[in-house]
């Protein structure tokens, strides 16, 4: 089995999709001639030409909207937002225009486009280049949102997203791009959107997580005295209620591990659903491990504290399992 950089999984998924479907085009800043600031589009210009791999001006609203128009008219645009924050100036085109195209035309017009973006903290990019921001898209009727967690899920989710008939946002934890992993590409491999995976079986508690937190959860589970099940949610909207509910039905304890501020994290929805659905089988209150409600700090020591570590996650889950009470987070909460 070959060892690859995770960023190569992005590149391979895009390249394979462009080979398989001549309507797939790519747009973004510095993605063509420069090969992308994270080298995830390297070689695509040479392979597919400047009409399909398009360097855009730094005009997110223009190229995000152009993707909507091109999608409606029969193309499959894949838009790169270099950092997910950049979509702030183009949000209208995604959440208001693309997401309602099908609804407003009664199924006659659709915007099957993909927005993929590097996202997340851990590398000292500061508070304006380190967020996940999935809550900007999650829960917007008409949009789907998924988060990659390794080479396999990157390839499988991206291929599915590009083939999906509706607009999809794929968040790629930037911190994973430069990780190496054993992975053998299979061009027919797909991960269906809306489906979670149990990546570690356990009996005492279910950690539901996604993105770069999956490996944190797995490391925590390995080191913990508790026997922890780990679910990679993969798609944040619409999320796989069945897999999570069944797991919590077995373990009796739900923990969400979220790279998101407490106030807007996806775990709020997971907890509210499971609390209702699995009320009778819960041995402990559902517990959320999140970021504090504060911007991502730049300083390395602070950022390392800011993000949940395997040790912190293990400690939290063990406290939950041993006391059946929800432990307080490390930060001081507003009263």
């Amino acid at each position: 089995m070959a060892k690859i950089w995770i960023r190569q999984a992005v590149l391979r998924a895009l390249d394979d999709a462009m080979k398989d479907d001549p309507t797939v085009i790519m747009m973004g800043e510095d993605i063509a001639a420069a090969g992308g600031p994270f080298k995830v589009t390297e070689g695509l210009l040479a392979a597919h030409g400047p009409d399909r791999v398009i360097d855009t001006p730094i005009s997110e609203m223009a190229f995000m909207g152009a993707a909507v128009g091109a999608a409606v008219c029969g193309m499959k645009p894949v838009v790169e937002m270099m950092f997910i924050e950049f979509i702030g100036v183009a949000l209208d085109q995604l959440t208001t225009q693309a997401a309602t195209m099908r609804y407003l035309s009664r199924g006659q017009l659709t915007a099957p486009l993909v927005v993929r973006a590097s996202a997340g903290a851990g590398q000292g990019f500061g508070c304006q280049h380190s967020q996940m921001l999935d809550h900007w898209f999650r829960g917007t009727p008409g949009l789907k949102v998924a988060v990659t967690s390794n080479a396999r899920t990157t390839y499988g989710l991206l291929r599915s997203a590009i083939e999906d008939p509706d607009p999809v946002v794929i968040l790629e934890p930037r911190i994973l791009y430069a990780e190496r992993e054993e992975y053998e590409f299979d061009s027919s491999y797909r991960i269906p959107l809306g489906k979670a995976e149990i990546v570690r079986a356990g009996t005492d508690a279910t950690i539901v997580t996604c993105g770069s937190m999956v490996r944190v959860a797995l490391a925590a589970a390995e080191s913990s005295k508790a026997n922890i099940e780990v679910i990679d949610l993969l798609t944040l909207w619409p999320w796989d209620r069945k897999t999570v509910a069944e797991s919590v039905g077995r373990t009796g304890r739900l923990v969400t591990l979220e790279e998101a501020p407490a106030g807007s994290g996806w775990g709020g929805d997971v907890v509210s659903h499971i609390a209702v659905e699995k009320f009778g089988s819960l041995k402990a209150p559902p517990h959320r491990i999140t970021l504090p409600d504060a911007p991502v700090p730049y300083n390395g020591t602070l950022e390392a504290r800011f993000l949940p570590s395997p040790a912190y996650v293990a400690e939290q889950v063990e406290a939950l399992v041993s006391t059946n009470k929800s432990p307080a987070p490390w930060w001081r909460t507003a009263a």
């Binding site: 399909r52 099908r102 008409g142």
Partner: protein
């Protein structure tokens, strides 16, 4: 008898090559806008509506200059454009009244008119939203190897939003087959253009993007069509986008709750003297297409037709409750009835 009453948007569109039909359509737009106002008073319309009476020449001048499979994006002041492009009065009035007969089945409302068969993408309730989308439609046309173009219609208020500048730049850089049409009616919502915009002519902004532009008397549908023909031909030849500014005026306020008291005295009267319907009617009399005094009869006939369409709308039911969950995504009820542009 004209074929205004046809139920086929494409037939209505093609009919616009006829001189008398051009006038009839302008009269129809005016009559529909006036009927909407009345429907509002009668309690059949929810939310808000944005009328464009006074701007009929722009709508008809554009619609007669492009083909039904060219793509059009447009703002929420779009009733007139939808009618000109071929959407029927019943489909427009029905949408505004929230009935199944409406062009979006009553789920969209006044600000969201749509008709793929004549290239009309859902009109957008967000200022500037249609410009980037038109750029993308133009990219798709080129990628798919045809000479179709995209037209984006927006107001002077859109000229100060980022999407305008980003789109003009993007289209110019890529030489996209787009015609940007700015309907300069002097007011962005409730605010006069001088208070929001440091230039009198929006067209001058094309210079920053190395793009040709045109300033057009938007009350004269022939002049609108002439300028459009030039810009459309340029786009089809692959020479890139044009910004066309139509000088026009909306007789009503911004929306139904706006009495437009901010307008200087006499301004409306001055514009009424150059009413687009009168301008074309007089010309058609000269061309022996319209009999002397024939406009009154035409207006009465059109009013009757609009009244009949209104009656049909008011007999149409609202959408069923289960439509709430339909067409949200491909997984939703309602199924996929995707319109394939340029598939023939």
């Amino acid at each position: 008898m004209t074929i205004s009453n046809s139920n086929s948007p494409i037939a209505r569109r093609e009919a616009l090559q006829d001189r008398l039909e051009q006038l009839t359509r302008m009269v129809e737009i005016r009559a529909v806008e006036e009927r909407i106002q009345k429907l509002f008073a009668e309690g059949h319309v929810r939310g808000s509506t944005h009328l464009a009476n006074g701007q009929e020449a722009v709508s008809v001048g554009i619609a007669r200059s492009i083909d039904p499979d060219d793509i059009v994006t447009c703002t929420y002041r779009g009733h007139g454009h939808a009618l000109a492009l071929g959407v029927t009065p019943a489909a427009v009035l029905g949408e505004i009244c929230g009935r199944v007969i409406g062009c979006a089945g009553g789920l969209g409302g006044s600000m969201h008119l749509v008709e793929p068969s004549v290239g009309l993408l859902p009109t957008a309730a967000i200022i500037g939203a249609g410009l980037p989308i038109a750029c993308g439609a133009a990219m798709a046309a080129r990628a798919r190897g045809n000479d179709r173009i995209a037209v984006s219609i927006f107001g002077d208020g859109s000229a100060n939003i980022g999407a305008f500048h980003e789109s003009l730049n993007f289209a110019a850089i890529r030489k996209l087959p787009v015609v940007f049409v700015c309907e300069n009616n002097l007011y962005g919502e409730y605010t006069r253009i001088q208070l929001s915009t440091p230039v009198e002519d929006i067209a001058v902004r094309a210079g920053s993007y190395n793009m040709p532009s045109d300033i057009v008397d938007g009350q004269d549908s022939d002049k609108v069509a002439e300028a459009m023909a030039k810009a459309v031909a340029r786009a089809r030849r692959g020479e890139g986008p044009t910004l066309v500014e139509m000088k026009t005026y909306r007789y009503s306020g911004h929306s139904r709750s706006d009495p437009a008291t901010y307008r200087p005295a006499g301004e409306l009267d001055a514009w009424l003297k150059r009413d687009p319907i009168d301008i074309l009617a007089n010309r058609l009399v000269g061309e022996n297409v319209l009999a002397e005094g024939g406009l009154d009869k035409l207006k009465a006939d059109v009013r009757d037709a609009v009244e009949a369409a209104t009656a049909e709308v008011l007999e149409s039911p609202g959408p069923a409750l289960d439509e709430i969950m339909s067409h949200v995504g491909a997984y939703s009820a309602g199924g996929d009835q995707r319109w394939n542009f340029w598939s023939k």
